[in-house]
């Protein structure tokens, strides 16, 4: 499409306003020079329509203009204006259609022109904007380039400085080395000089020594009033091989004593520390949460297999005899296991810390997570407990050691062994005393009883004898009056005897009655007691017989008394 240049049509100047609005200098293609007349102009005002449009078609060239238009239109694709192909009659309908088409086309073209102009404006502003951006970016680029140059410069300076400092350091080091070398050489020089002077000095000393010894100075002597006794009171002995050997022995003994003491202390310390470690191990295990249920895929912790191993270790190392062993492997095992457990505990604590921090950052419930303070309080409490237990164990250990180690002779060991039972023994002794006293009392009582029984027996004997004599007398008297007495023998004997008995009793009753009455219960008691004590001693046995003999008699007497 060529550039359009409007030809200023020789039209009245009133039209020039309209036309000049739309002047735009555009070049024209030579082929279409003739044709570009009015198509670019908008519809002019109706006033000048005729005059303007008359420029193309006048009364003279109507036919030519029609044919020309027809030609043009047909070339543009419009239907022909003529009614027939070869005729001069115009097809009004087609003319009108063509006109309409042309109008439509015109409108379309105008719109397209507007659009294009709009787009043109847009593009222009975009272009401006882009140009501004470009200018700014260019400036920025310049600035950064300058900055880079500056930084490079600084970098270079710093590198330079660094190199200088390195150089200085190297220089200083060299100087130090040099000074040390100087010192070393001077030291050797001084040593050499010292040795030389010392040798000279030694020579002088030897010389002096010789002089002193040679002079046999009478003044070098000691005056003492009398000899002083030795500290230990013994006489001095000759220095022999034996004494030398003894001295060596003494020295080695002293050394050994010292080493043994040292070793004992170290063993004690060692044992204590080992116990503490064991305790710590146990407590660490108890602190750790039971993690047996967790699957073994938790490679980050690695707790599973370790824990199971540890369980075995714990079982092994808790055996009593393991403690006594001090060999390398046991020690290593113990320290390794404690290290592992400590690491586990540390991991656990770290996990808890993470959880706590997550709790603080995210809003979890506090119930699920033990707060750090509580945890710390717990650990503090546990630590205190551990401390208490350790101290207790230490004191107990010390006491035990003292007991075992304190050197004492037999008496004191015996005393020491008995000291725990002292109280009980004293109590026992007191009880023994009481028992003995009671026994004595019982013996006394028994003796008095037996004496009483003996007395009683003797009295009974006497009584029996009296009775016997009395009966004899009676019998003798009765034999004189035998007739009377024969009938009443039995009765009288009995009654007489009873009378006599009564008489006797009466005569004697004052003496005997109370006694007999009193003695009856006592003798009854005695009999009872004697009967009840079949194991009584022999004096009682003797009285047994007499009393038993007299028993029925007495009972008879009493009966008779009662009957009469």
């Amino acid at each position: 499409m060529g550039d359009w240049k409007t030809i200023t049509v020789p039209a009245p100047s009133s039209d020039s306003k309209n036309t000049s609005q739309y002047t735009s200098e555009k070049k024209m293609s030579p082929s279409s020079l003739n044709m570009q007349q009015v198509l670019r102009l908008p519809l002019p005002s109706s006033k000048s329509t005729h005059s303007f449009f008359s420029a193309f078609c006048t009364e003279e060239n109507v036919e030519q203009s029609i044919s020309y238009l027809n030609r043009e239109l047909t070339t543009l694709g419009f239907p022909s204006l003529y009614a027939e192909s070869k005729g001069k009659e115009l097809n009004l309908i087609s003319i009108l259609n063509c006109m309409n088409e042309l109008l439509v086309l015109q409108r379309k073209n105008l719109r397209a022109q507007e659009d294009v102009e709009m787009q043109h404006l847009k593009l222009g502003s975009d272009m401006d904007h882009l140009q501004n951006c470009y200018a700014k970016l260019k400036e920025q680029l310049e600035a950064s380039k300058r900055e880079i140059v500056g930084l490079q410069e600084r970098d270079r300076q710093l590198q330079c400085k660094n190199r200088n400092l390195h150089q200085l350091l190297k220089n200083e080091k060299d100087e130090v080395q040099k000074l040390q070398n100087i010192i070393a050489s001077r030291a050797t020089q001084y040593n050499h000089d010292m040795k030389r002077k010392e040798r000279e000095y030694n020579k002088l000393k030897e010389r002096l020594h010789q002089l002193v010894m040679n002079k046999k100075d009478k003044k070098i002597a000691m005056e003492v009033l009398n000899y002083v006794g030795r500290v230990d009171g013994k006489r001095g002995g000759w220095r022999t091989d034996k004494t030398e050997a003894r001295n060596e022995e003494e020295m080695y003994k002293a050394l050994l004593r010292d080493y043994e003491q040292c070793q004992k202390q170290l063993l004690v310390e060692n044992a204590e520390l080992r116990k503490v470690l064991q305790q710590m191990k146990k407590e660490i295990i108890s602190l750790l949460p039971p993690q047996k249920q967790k699957p073994r895929e938790r490679s980050e912790d690695g707790i599973g297999p370790v824990l199971s191993d540890l369980e075995d270790d714990v079982g092994e190392l808790n055996k009593e005899n393991m403690w006594e062993l001090s060999c390398e492997t046991v020690r290593e095992q113990l320290t390794n296991s404690i290290r592992n457990q400590w690491r586990m505990l540390k991991n656990h604590v770290e996990k808890l810390d993470n959880q706590v921090s997550r709790v603080h950052s995210g809003a979890l419930t506090d119930k699920d997570v033990i707060s750090r303070e509580d945890h710390e309080l717990e650990t503090e409490k546990l630590e205190l407990e551990i401390q208490h237990c350790k101290e207790m164990i230490k004191t107990q250990q010390q006491l035990l050691q003292q007991q075992l180690m304190s050197p004492c002779d037999d008496d004191t060991t015996v005393l020491l062994q008995d000291c725990y039972l002292l109280e009980e023994r004293e109590r026992l002794q007191e009880e023994w005393k009481l028992f003995r006293e009671q026994k004595k009392n019982f013996e006394k009582e028994r003796r008095s009883f037996t004496e009483a029984a003996i007395r009683l027996g003797l009295e009974r004997q006497a009584f029996e004898e009296d009775r016997g004599t009395w009966l004899k007398q009676q019998f003798l008297s009765m034999t004189c009056d035998s007739k009377y007495l024969e009938n009443v023998k039995t009765q009288s004997a009995t009654s007489g005897s009873s009378d006599q008995d009564n008489h006797l009793m009466n005569t004697r009753s004052q003496q005997k009655k109370p006694r007999s009455l009193s003695s009856v219960p006592t003798s009854a008691e005695l009999c009872q007691t004697i009967q009840h004590t079949p194991y009584s001693s022999s004096p009682c046995a003797i009285s047994n017989k007499t009393t038993e003999e007299s028993k029925p008699n007495q009972w008879e007497e009493i009966y008779r008394e009662e009957t009469e």
């Binding site: 100075d217 070098i220 005056e223 030795r230 500290v231 020295m251 080695y252």
Partner: protein, 449 residues
């Protein structure tokens, strides 16, 4: 705290007897023996010349007085005042003299350290030990008195000889790997001997009683080395003070360093207590002044009372820059002493000579720093409890114990500068020595507040 009156003294020679009952002091050429409790003169002996050294025998029955100028040693008996003994070294000269632990032999070191003569009081016999080493501590006896170690030097090499004191038999003789042995010291348990080298080389060797080398310790090379050492009373620790202002502690099991104590001039740790001696501003009331001024008033005017204040930490101590080009510079840890209960170690850094550092051995940390107004002359632990007595050359004596510390003015007439002090073996009495006088100080049983 009571003070006795002052008595004359010369040469700072005042010693308590080992059994604690008597006190020997020297005035010029006279030896005075007093009873400790009553301070009455029990014996008075006159020697031939000015006495330069006094020592009690171990059983407290004899005293030796050495006069180096004349080369004579005189021995006096306390049981028999008439008994006398004079040992004359004649032209051999005398440089040092001491008792053997059994109290019946005297070891004299002749001039130039030519030899050591062993004089026996029981048999009047003489033995000679050749080539003794001329060093600061060449003879050492074990605490139980059975063995003696002697440093020797033959053919430019150091040797140690071990003798059995009962019959002076040579038990062991071995060489040491030292350049120039400076001193030897037995551990209190009598089984280990510490041997240290000259200050030009930091090296300490530990030998067992039978002469085997147990261990060697070198902290660093080339700088000045060991200045002083001290064994702890239980023989568990060996403290080594060196010129680099540090104390290193070795343990008796492995003979390796377990810790080192630094002595910086600025104390920054707030847990450390610093006692600083400050002068109490003496307000002398003008009404009480009289003319002529009484003696007590005069002395009290001249000596300003002082007390201890607890300083705020951080604080800096008085630091003396040592003279660089002199030999034996006043730097480094010059004095070390363990307390008798093995709980504390008192050290003095010669760079800060006014301060005494007390370390807690149970915790291996610095416990207390005492800063005095004057340079510390000497300090000594009470032989029974952890109580430290300090003297700084003025008329005060200072006592520190874990309960606190106190500064006490010695109420003596005239100018009494306490130059040295020594404790009684029972721990309740102290002798304070000045140039011309000495007095006794009796302490109460309770701890110092």
């Amino acid at each position: 705290m009571n003070f006795s009156e002052g008595f004359k003294l010369s040469g700072l020679l005042c010693k308590f007897s080992p059994d604690g009952k008597r006190l020997a002091s020297c005035v010029q050429y006279r030896l005075i023996v007093r009873d400790v409790n009553t301070l009455q003169i029990l014996q008075l002996y006159t020697c031939l010349d000015q006495i330069q050294y006094v020592e009690w025998s171990s059983d407290s029955l004899f005293i030796l007085c050495a006069m180096y100028k004349r080369g004579i040693v005189q021995v006096w008996s306390l049981e028999q005042p008439d008994w006398h003994c004079k040992i004359d070294e004649g032209s051999a000269g005398l440089v040092a003299s001491c008792w053997s632990p059994d109290g019946r032999h005297i070891l004299n070191t002749t001039e130039f350290h030519l030899r050591i003569t062993v004089w026996s009081l029981c048999t009047k016999s003489v033995s000679y030990i050749k080539y003794p080493k001329a060093c600061q501590q060449g003879i050492a006896f074990t605490k139980d008195g059975h063995y003696m170690a002697l440093a020797e030097r033959r053919d430019c090499k150091d040797f140690i000889s071990l003798f059995v004191c009962s019959d002076w038999q040579l038990l062991r003789h071995f060489d040491t790997e030292t350049q120039d042995l400076a001193g030897i010291e037995w551990a209190p348990n009598g089984c280990v001997l510490a041997v240290w080298d000259t200050c030009l080389e930091y090296k300490i060797l530990l030998y067992s009683l039978d002469g085997r080398l147990l261990s060697t310790y070198r902290a660093y090379e080339w700088s000045l080395g060991i200045k002083s050492i001290a064994w702890s009373p239980s023989s568990q620790f060996l403290a080594i003070g060196s010129y680099d202002e540090k104390v290193r502690i070795l343990n008796h099991v492995t003979w390796k360093k377990i810790t080192e104590f630094e002595h910086p001039p600025i104390i920054a740790n707030p847990k450390i207590i610093v006692y600083k001696e400050v002068e109490k501003s003496a307000t002398v009331e003008t009404q009480k002044l009289s003319f002529p001024p009484t003696r007590e008033l005069a002395s009290s005017l001249f000596s300003i009372p002082s007390k201890y204040d607890i300083s705020q930490v951080p604080m800096s101590l008085q630091y003396i820059k040592p003279v660089a080009d002199r030999a034996n510079p006043r730097i480094g840890i010059g004095t070390l002493a363990f307390s008798p209960d093995n709980c504390f170690l008192a050290t003095k850094n010669d760079n800060t000579p006014n301060a005494i550092w007390i370390w807690d051995i149970q915790k291996l940390k610095l416990f207390v720093v005492l800063e005095q107004l004057c340079t510390v002359n000497s300090f000594q632990w009470d032989p029974r409890q952890p109580r430290l007595a300090i003297c700084t050359g003025n008329s005060k004596v200072y006592l520190w114990s874990p309960a606190g510390c106190v500064s006490v003015q010695v109420p003596m007439e005239g100018d009494f500068q306490v130059l040295s002090l020594c404790w009684h073996s029972g721990g309740d009495t102290m002798a304070l020595l000045s140039k011309d006088n000495f007095c006794l100080c009796y302490l109460e049983r309770e701890e110092v507040k």
